[in-house]
């Protein structure tokens, strides 16, 4: 097939102001009547819905270009305004121009000699800081020269001009009509206009006062037909109707020679309608409203803000071939796979072009049809016409099918998909997976990829997109596949790693378990290993040896566990130490980082998947849970903790009595009260930490709850201490709880009680249960942190948006400098050394490993 691809590319966009001439030239109709439709419901000629402006009804043809709906993009029209009108968006520029030029000769109010002197300076300012700064400078210049009383060119006496908002100009106390303004603006020479930062090639000052108004094509203001058959017009059409109506009235009145007052009133009304046509949120004007009272959405509102054209439709677009549903975990599929429900797979399609070699293969899909899997939903003829496959059409389409056609077949295992969870805060929020069609109705993902998506399974939903072109698929595969995202570009360590059960499982396995040979083989088999030659040939197999079976034979590694014990892997055998979150977990995962470095992403992904499953299967075989008795303490320990807390409380009371006696020494720069608070806080925190220490020593290391925190799977010692011993001080805004009733937090306490309990110290543990007042204090801090989260999210979101907007066009050039879109150098070498964080190890080049390998140390 020979296709000539004509690649069209927009090179540049130029902005400017439409001249009246241009408006007329690009218009296809002159609008003369506010009526929209005649009695039969056809658009009126010369009305706002004139078919020469484009068509919005199916069946009608555009009178300008002859195309039908959707083919014709619409054409502009124009109306001739009976009297000129100020363009609201240019009112400030017009004011500047009027103030800085002579009312009779139109020259700038600076003598030529002065002008020459300052010209280069002005140009420089304009170039560096923009035209606005230049205009300001010209104004300053005029004020400086003190030539305000007379024009330096024609000696005309000058008068003060002010702008009465929104659009009325006054000279001294006389109103200046837009006609007058326009004639003055006409007098400004091109050379002077340049000084104001106007480019005379694209804008003449007088164009800023409208004499003609372009009418946007109907295609951008389509009317909708309601169920009742009634037509409902777009807001813009309504507004334009007003403009045309008043304009006609004004014409008639002028022609009839009506009194000046009436004409002025109509003129002002026209000005109002045109102003609100551009912007319905002008400060001094009441917004134009529908009959229902809701304000009209006119041009500015259409473009502006998050829901406006720019951010909603241009910078972000809608997409087809996507789907969304609840997610659930499945550790048995690979990390780079995504389980797609049958129902979804039969709706989402992949286009495949028919050729001589896949003809029979694709024919099968068409034959199966849309109702059975795997079938096809559409075929596309070479001329681009799409045909739906139904029971009736199958036969005929099968016959028609030939090379050059495209078959849109159902999604199948191994197809490329892009998987995403909002909020998409980093690039790992959108990764490319291979689809795997599965029963049931949820998307399935391997729990190891929860970390980059920040997903859990408490009802989260995720989106799936199917790229439709070869280019898109290739790009997705090369740039976005899960394996390419193993290392976070934020800190250069693995982000996709083991979590939760996978960590505690491997911890148990490598630390404690000894299996029989059968068990070991069964375990490894269930994980996806089928080569057991790595296992030592004996009946009892240590957990470490089972784990070693997953590690490549030539891999050596020396690391440390969370509490500093050595981990040694020598030639693929785990010799010493055990696995925990320091080596397997996300955000540290040094073992995984090293595997990645040595064997590359693809292999690492497989190994990681196996390690993950090994952990989970170990737990499945051995059982793992958390029980109340895990937090049981012995009588002795309980007493110890009680003593500690009692002591701390006594110490607090001591402090309080010292304070009340007025003998407390203040810390420098602090009041006595603050000092007391700090000291109390310190004492109580110490006590809580001490309790935590006792707990961590007292608890049985073999309880599952303890293992969870020890291995780094979930929870920490503080959590354990809070359950077993004491929750500790509740802090509100960095202080103990103070608010509530007069001089006390709850009426349960005496006034002025500064003791621990009265100020939010929770001395019980969750296991024991809290007292009602303690519970109330916890609810207070809980609400506070909820508020904090709710307030923080939009703030950090805005910061992120600003950062992204400011830096999105920075890129590394071929000379390794970092530059922005205008090719200005931001950094001479990225990050001062040119190292890509995602290729480094925690931001550094690991020289130690190289040294160790070469010197053999």
């Amino acid at each position: 097939m020979e296709v000539d691809y004509v690649v069209k590319k927009i090179d540049a966009l130029k902005f400017g102001v439409l001249s009246p001439k241009m408006i007329k030239k690009m218009a296809s109709v002159k609008i003369v009547t506010p009526e929209l439709y005649d009695k039969e419901g056809y658009p009126v000629d010369g009305g706002l819905m004139d078919t020469r402006l484009g068509v919005i009804d199916p069946g009608l043809k555009c009178k300008t270009c002859g195309s039908k709906l959707k083919e014709c993009t619409g054409h502009f029209g124009y109306i001739e305004l009976a009297r000129p009108v100020i363009h609201i968006k240019f009112k400030k520029v017009i004011l500047d121009l009027l103030r800085c030029t002579c009312r009779s000769c139109g020259r700038i109010l600076v003598p030529d000699t002065e002008l020459q002197k300052n010209l280069t300076k002005l140009n420089k300012i304009g170039k560096l800081l923009g035209p606005k700064a230049k205009r300001r400078k010209v104004k300053e210049l005029i004020v400086q020269l003190k030539t305000i009383s007379k024009c330096p060119h024609c000696n005309e006496k000058l008068q003060k001009i002010r702008l009465e908002k929104p659009t009325t100009y006054f000279e001294e106390d006389k109103r200046v009509s837009p006609i007058e303004i326009r004639t003055r603006l006409e007098k400004i020479t091109d050379e002077d206009a340049v000084l104001f930062g106007l480019n005379p090639e694209v804008v003449r000052p007088e164009w800023l006062v409208l004499t003609l108004l372009p009418i946007p094509p109907v295609t951008m203001r389509p009317s909708i037909t309601l169920e009742s058959g009634e037509r409902s017009e777009d807001d813009l059409t309504h507004k334009l109707g007003d403009v045309v109506r008043i304009n006609q009235r004004l014409f008639e009145n002028i022609n009839a020679g009506a009194p000046e007052i009436i004409i002025e009133d109509l003129w002002d009304l026209l000005q109002y309608h045109i102003t609100t046509f551009f912007d319905n949120n002008v400060a001094q004007l009441p917004p134009a409203r529908h009959r229902s009272g809701q304000p009209l959405k006119t041009l500015t509102e259409r473009i502006k803000s998050k829901e406006g054209r720019i951010r909603h439709n241009l910078a972000g677009k809608r997409t087809n071939f996507s789907s969304r549903t609840v997610i659930s975990p499945d550790s048995m599929i690979a990390l780079d796979e995504v389980g797609v429900p049958h129902v979804v797979a039969m709706k989402l399609t992949v286009p495949e072009r028919v050729n001589d070699w896949n003809f029979e293969y694709l024919k099968e899909f068409v034959k199966t049809g849309p109702k059975k899997y795997p079938g096809a939903n559409y075929i596309v003829r070479p001329d681009g016409k799409k045909k739906k496959i139904t029971e009736e059409t199958t036969e005929q389409l099968l016959e028609e099918l030939e090379p050059g056609y495209i078959v849109e077949r159902h999604l199948m295992d191994g197809d490329i998909a892009i998987f995403n969870r909002q909020p998409s805060l980093h690039r790992m929020s959108m990764m490319c997976h291979k689809t795997k069609v599965l029963p049931y109705l949820t998307f399935r993902l391997n729990p190891a990829v929860c970390a980059p998506y920040n997903a859990d399974f408490d009802g989260d939903e995720m989106n799936l997109h199917i790229p439709q072109t070869e280019e898109a698929r290739a790009e997705a595969e090369i740039l976005m596949e899960v394996q390419t995202q193993l290392i976070s570009p934020r800190y250069g360590l693995g982000i996709i790693a083991c979590n939760m059960d996978a960590i505690s499982g491997n911890y148990l396995l490598t630390r404690k378990l000894v299996l029989t040979r059968e068990e070991a083989i069964l375990l490894l088999g269930s994980v996806g290993v089928d080569d057991f030659s790595d296992l030592p040939n004996k009946q009892k197999i240590d957990g470490k040896e089972v784990f070693s079976a997953l590690i490549p034979k030539d891999f050596s590694f020396i690391g440390r566990t969370r509490d500093g014990a050595k981990v040694i892997i020598e030639k693929g055998k785990l010799k010493e130490g055990y696995m925990d979150s320091a080596n397997l977990g996300s955000g540290s995962g040094l073992l995984i980082r090293n595997l990645h470095k040595k064997y590359g992403p693809k292999e690492t992904l497989v190994i990681l998947g196996r390690i993950f499953r090994l952990g989970i299967k170990t737990l499945v075989n051995n059982g793992f849970t958390t029980v109340l008795s895990d937090t049981d303490l012995s009588e002795v320990d309980r007493n110890k903790i009680n003593d500690t807390l009692k002591k701390a409380e006594n110490r607090v009371y001591e402090l309080i009595s010292v304070y009340e006696a007025g003998e407390l020494d203040a810390f420098p720069g602090r009041s006595v009260e603050e000092t007391l608070e700090l000291k109390i806080l310190e004492t109580l925190n110490k006590a809580r930490n001490e309790a935590g220490r006792i707990v961590s020593q007292a608890l049985n290391e073999d309880t599952h709850t303890f293992i969870m925190s020890k291995s780094g799977a979930k929870g920490n010692i503080i959590n354990l201490a809070q359950m077993a011993a004491c929750v500790g001080q509740q802090a509100l805004r960095g202080k103990r709880i103070e608010r509530g009733y007069n001089k006390r937090t709850i009426s349960f306490f005496e006034k002025n009680d500064l003791g621990p309990a009265a100020r939010g110290f929770v001395r019980h543990g969750f296991r024991q249960g809290l007292s009602p007042n303690e519970f109330f204090f916890m609810a207070m801090t809980g609400r506070d942190s909820l508020m904090d989260t709710a307030l923080r999210t939009p703030k950090s979101g805005y910061l992120y948006r600003r950062l992204a907007n400011a830096m999105q066009d920075l890129k590394v050039e071929y000379d390794y400098t970092v530059r922005n879109a205008s090719k200005k150098i931001i950094q001479f070498s990225y990050g001062e050394d040119g190292v890509d964080v995602s290729k480094s190890e925690g931001g550094k080049i690991n020289v130690r490993r190289i040294i160790e390998r070469i010197t053999g140390a």
Partner: protein
């Protein structure tokens, strides 16, 4: 070893010094020249494979790396329990403050390092008090407004005065300079201010009181709190309020280590490069204190975008974003109408060199894989 130095020298052009230093510090004692050579060759190889690729959109990666953990930062300004520290803006508000490029920050602070012997604690209390801004109010124990006599009477804290080493003469001189038409009398611990011409307006006498209270007498302006702190083996003065220029002039201050958290002050006094480093340090400090992990390179890039023009510009619509070359890129951020109107007056041309405007026009974006400009004939 001399031979080692030679080997290192050889690689100086190929590997950044930082990495060479890293090798040096990790090198075991016994290493043969051949091994060293091998090591360096390997390091150089590793370095070259770790280099960033041309076309990489480092900007967006950095923005993500800082924006994403933003949701995990705390909003509260809080001081850690038990430690007598002053209030500091931390967490997200501080980051926003820095990146906004605000001129007036919420909690300006300084860390003043001292020269020996003061750093060992000599006269530490006196020194720190002498830095603190002292107004008449700080020196007074009691103020009496005498309506019948039409005068204001301040009772001075003599102990404090002595500690701060303020002479009577100095005090009177400062006051008379500020109160031109008043008589100022001193009587032991009393200072009396009385207007020369008797005014009929009673509120005038209160005005005198208020004005006098705020009069700056000694110390350094804007330093409102001082706190000497022991920081590994030496004394450091932490202050609330910042005045780098004046503090650096003091002869007991170690100017090479003294820092402030007011970035604009640093820019003014030490220049833009120092300001850039200050931004990096301050942002990094916050991120670190929140227990988050963000590579320093991302922060550098942000600091560089803020500083490359030679003065600090915030990441706001008035700062960095306003200087983008593309009209559409600016319009897609904030205040779109204004940007389009202004562009139309100048006849601005958008060359479509950055990202968003190409997204808007459905064209490939000129970063990463969209970068190569290659024309191929399809036949």
């Amino acid at each position: 070893m001399a031979s080692n130095a030679n080997v290192f020298k050889e690689y100086e052009n190929r590997i950044p010094l930082q990495i060479i230093e890293d090798v040096k510090s990790n090198l075991p004692d016994k290493v043969t020249a051949k091994q060293l050579k091998e090591i360096m060759e390997e390091v150089a190889e590793e370095y070259s494979t770790s280099l960033i690729e041309p076309g990489e959109s480092v900007g967006i990666v950095s923005a993500e790396s800082i924006g994403e953990p933003g949701t995990q930062m705390t909003l509260n300004t809080f001081h850690f329990a038990g430690v007598a520290e002053m209030n500091v803006t931390v967490g997200l508000p501080r980051i926003i403050e820095i990146l906004d490029g605000r001129k007036n920050i919420k909690t300006p602070m300084m860390e003043i390092y001292l020269k020996e012997p003061y750093s060992k604690g000599k006269d530490i209390k006196k020194i720190s008090q002498s830095i603190k801004q002292t107004t008449l109010k700080d020196l007074t124990l009691e103020v009496v407004v005498d309506i019948s006599e039409f005068k204001v009477e301040f009772t001075i804290d003599l102990k404090k005065k002595e500690l701060l080493d303020i002479k009577d003469k100095q005090l009177i001189a400062v006051l008379s300079k500020n109160f031109r038409n008043h008589t100022i009398k001193q009587d032991k611990d009393k200072v009396i201010i009385k207007p020369k011409e008797k005014s009929s307006n009673l509120s005038d006498v209160y005005k005198i009181k208020d004005k006098a209270k705020g009069i700056f007498i000694a110390g350094i302006k804007r330093i409102s709190q001082v706190l000497p702190v022991r920081k590994d083996e030496e004394f450091v003065i932490i202050t609330a309020g910042s005045n780098l220029k004046e503090v650096l002039k003091l002869d007991f201050v170690d100017p090479s280590r003294t820092v402030t958290n007011d970035i604009f002050e640093i820019q003014e006094i030490l220049g833009i490069e120092a300001a850039r480093q200050a931004i990096i340090n301050e942002v990094y400090k916050v991120i670190e204190s929140q227990g988050l992990n963000v590579d320093i390179r991302h922060i550098m890039l942000v600091a560089d975008t803020m500083c490359y023009r030679g003065k600090i510009r915030g990441i706001t619509r008035y700062g960095v974003v306003s200087e983008k070359s593309s009209v559409l890129a600016r319009a897609s951020f904030e205040t779109p109408i204004r940007h389009i109107i202004n562009a139309s007056l100048v006849g601005e041309i958008d060359r479509l060199t950055s990202v968003v405007e190409n997204v808007m026009l459905n064209q490939p974006i000129p970063v990463g894989t969209g970068l190569p400009d290659l024309v191929t004939k399809m036949k």
